[in-house]
């Protein structure tokens, strides 16, 4: 298929990998892919099998579903249970457990919860059901925030008042900074998020390269994009450089999307702080609706508990999100916590490191176990 197959060529992948091997000279390297989309690609295509074994990919906090704390889900439940409310959400959020169960459970109890592919779908539901109150559960980084912003502008222009937004948009840069300041993590470079960068551009990552001395390469989501991104980081390290580079030039403009940033600036305002699942409170890391759009702000319209709910004790999503442990090193991975019955958010979304690893990645572990067994048998 055109525009797909050229980014999945096995021979090119092999050549790129050989270059990574040559440039890195076998030194162990820890590179973080910030974005959950990359995590998904890495596992879906088995990229770890293609890259040389000295390159260790660490999965970062850029999975929008994964970073939503339990308290916000309980707030979502509280809104969904109000009379005459149709609560709309992206499909992934349906299965995330809150302290009262998931939205799927709430739906089974009789709440009108519908999954949508975009906020505009939710807006359409509002227009078609004037006697109902439609709430959109807005989540995501700068990638999805502009479509929420656009929908809010439409709602205001058309005077549609039975639509509101429960805003949980978060921003990527404060979370990367929090990671860089965290003492328990040593990284050699970053695969920068491709989709977020179509909005914010590449310039904002400069502090990572300049203040923290780590190379950043904004990369696309096809397998060869990721492998080439890794190659570009390794090249920088070999050259002793730390810069921001753009591998994904076919999509990401260096200065981002000015129009999208402008409408975000009008519809949203910075929250002083926001709780990230597993990472705790991070200052200036999330968006709420601006005063101009107070009439569409579900947090102002509905009574939400707004409580902080501690994660289940056994859940190590925080350490997984920070890349401190690998998914399978979590105590409950694959036993108490599986995609069917997730305890933590990382096991829910297909972009979550645990779900990606559980669904796609177990073969290498099974193969390792077999190799070990055979070795033991040979010794015996």
């Amino acid at each position: 298929m055109k525009f797909v197959d050229e980014y999945r060529d096995a021979d090119i992948a092999k050549n790129l990998s050989a270059e990574v091997q040559r440039l890195s000279e076998g030194r162990p390297l820890k590179l973080m892919e910030v974005c959950g989309g990359h995590t998904h690609t890495i596992y879906k295509y088995g990229i770890e099998d293609v890259l040389p074994s000295n390159v260790d990919l660490i999965h970062g906090p850029g999975c929008p579903v994964c970073v939503i704390p339990m308290g916000r889900l309980d707030d979502a439940h509280a809104i969904a249970r109000q009379p005459d409310v149709i609560f709309t959400t992206y499909g992934d959020m349906m299965r995330v457990p809150g302290s009262q169960g998931s939205l799927l459970d709430a739906k089974a109890e009789g709440c009108d919860i519908r999954f949508v592919y975009s906020p505009l779908d939710a807006f359409k539901i509002a227009k078609n059901n004037p006697d109902k109150r439609v709430v959109f559960f807005a989540i995501g980084f700068e990638t999805t925030a502009p479509s929420t912003a656009l929908t809010l502008l439409r709602a205001k222009a058309e005077g549609i008042k039975n639509f509101s937004v429960f805003c949980n948009h978060v921003m990527i840069l404060p979370s990367i900074k929090a990671l860089l300041d965290s003492p328990d993590l040593r990284l050699d470079g970053f695969i920068g998020p491709g989709h977020v960068s179509t909005i914010i551009g590449c310039e904002p990552y400069r502090f990572i390269a300049e203040d923290y001395g780590k190379p950043v390469v904004v990369s696309g989501f096809e397998p060869l994009d990721v492998i080439q991104g890794v190659r570009m980081i390794v090249q920088q390290l070999a050259d002793g450089r730390s810069e921001v580079e753009n591998q994904y030039t076919r999509v990401v403009p260096w200065n981002g999307n000015a129009k999208a940033l402008e409408i975000m600036g009008r519809t949203f305002a910075l929250r002083p702080f926001f709780e990230w699942r597993g990472l705790g409170f991070i200052t200036h890391s999330a968006l709420k609706l601006s005063d101009e759009f107070a009439d569409w702000d579900a947090e102002l319209i509905y009574d939400v508990p707004g409580l902080r709910v501690a994660d289940p004790k056994s859940c190590q999503c925080g350490e997984v999100l920070k890349g401190v442990i690998k998914p399978w090193e979590c105590k409950v991975f694959g036993s108490a916590c599986t995609p069917e019955t997730p305890i933590g958010t990382c096991m829910v979304s297909s972009e979550g490191a645990c779900a990606a690893y559980y669904n796609y990645g177990r073969f290498s572990l099974a193969a390792q176990r077999n190799a070990l067994r055979q070795e033991q048998e040979a010794v015996a």
Binding site: K44, G46, N370
Partner: protein, 361 residues
């Protein structure tokens, strides 16, 4: 001249008798609760629609059940319910699915499908023309598959208590002699065969719902596979496993076999046939064709020495033109399906979690 013919009351009775002796006619434009009451309206519906279309000696007496002789040997029996939304879609409809699905389940047991039962649950207010269309489609599908519908049942529920129409079919078939088809039979070294391009049915239903505004020529692959299976058994009785990968797709069916047989199934991604339209839709929606439902495809596990001959025979059959080998069975690690990806990596292909496409069959 009849001596009563001048008595107006008796003449009236005679007229009523004549009308009552006429074949049942269905005049209603929609299904009402009285069609499920067991009374005259039910009788009319059964005679004028169901019996008229499905007509065969076992059904026509309209007894409480069908009585038929069987040859010596083993019977296979299966049942399935159909709740697909929308009812009509490019390449098929709920009626055709209800026949083909049950025929295919019997064929996948290694049986020759013979007789089906059909149960309708109708929502009050369902248009009679749509019901006719469904019944006619079932009759055509049964004829094409060489099976007869020998008994049935109709219920009508209040508006809102069911979604338009639900259909259950059960079927019996005679097991072919000297075959042993079961999910537990896969052995290391065997080859995995698929009968054609995967994912068409699920994507068609998704596109047809109109929620995604996808525009392309999708068409469900709905088909009865008993003929194809017969052509495969003509090559060899040594077919170890047969599955029709409906809900959950190829990934789920292969997992069932890998777990039941305690083997690994290794699939090569670039050998799995997927139509360009289906692949494109999957790329856009973030779906994996391996998990998308099929209604006219089968998977077979066959010993390596027969694999090429079976594929050749399948390709000569209209429903197996694109048959090919997509993988093989390994001994270890047990119970896993994995995919050798196009770029040269590996990944596990697990069973479907959740429900990406509700009510596809």
């Amino acid at each position: 001249m009849n001596k009563f013919s001048y008595d107006p009351a008796l003449r009236q009775l005679e007229k009523i008798d004549i009308v009552r002796r006429q074949p049942a006619r269905l005049k209603d434009s929609q299904v009402t609760l009285s069609h499920g009451s067991g009374g005259k309206a039910t009788h009319n519906l059964v005679e004028a629609l169901f019996a008229a279309n499905f007509s065969n000696p076992l059904l026509d007496s309209l007894d409480d059940g069908a009585i038929f002789p069987i040859e010596a040997g083993k019977l296979a029996m299966t049942t399935d319910s159909y709740v697909v939304n929308p009812l009509f879609f490019p390449g098929g409809d709920i009626g055709e699915l209800a026949v083909n699905g049950t025929v295919n389940d019997l064929a996948m047991c290694g049986a020759k499908p013979l007789y089906l039962s059909v149960g309708f649950i109708l929502e009050e207010g369902f248009p009679m023309d749509d019901l006719k269309r469904i019944v006619e489609s079932m009759a055509r599908a049964a004829e094409a598959a060489g099976v007869t519908i020998v008994t049935g049942d109709t219920k009508v529920v209040n508006k809102g208590k069911a979604d338009k129409v639900f259909i259950n079919t059960a079927g019996v078939g005679i097991l072919r002699p000297n075959v042993n088809v079961a999910a537990t039979n896969a052995q290391p070294g065997d080859k995995v065969i698929v009968s054609g391009a995967i994912g068409d049915h699920g994507i068609t239903i998704l596109a047809e719902r109109g929620e995604l505004e996808l525009e392309a020529d999708f068409k469900s692959d709905s088909a009865a596979l008993n003929g194809l299976v017969a052509a495969m058994f003509d090559v060899t009785n040594e077919i170890r496993c047969l599955k029709d990968p409906t809900r959950g797709g190829v990934a789920t069916s292969l997992n069932e076999i890998a777990k039941a047989s305690n083997v690994t199934i290794a699939v090569k991604e670039n050998t799995v046939p997927v139509r360009a339209e289906t692949r494109g839709a999957c790329e856009i929606l973030g779906l994996d064709p391996l998990y998308i439902a099929n209604e006219g495809k089968l998977l077979a596990i066959v010993p390596a020495e027969f694999a090429d001959a079976v594929v050749t025979a399948m390709r000569e059959h209209p429903h197996g033109k694109e048959a090919c080998i997509i993988g093989e069975v390994w001994a270890e690690p047990q119970g896993l399906v994995f995919l050798q990806t196009e770029i040269g990596g590996n990944r596990v292909v697990d069973m479907l979690v959740g429900d990406p496409l509700p009510r596809i069959c």
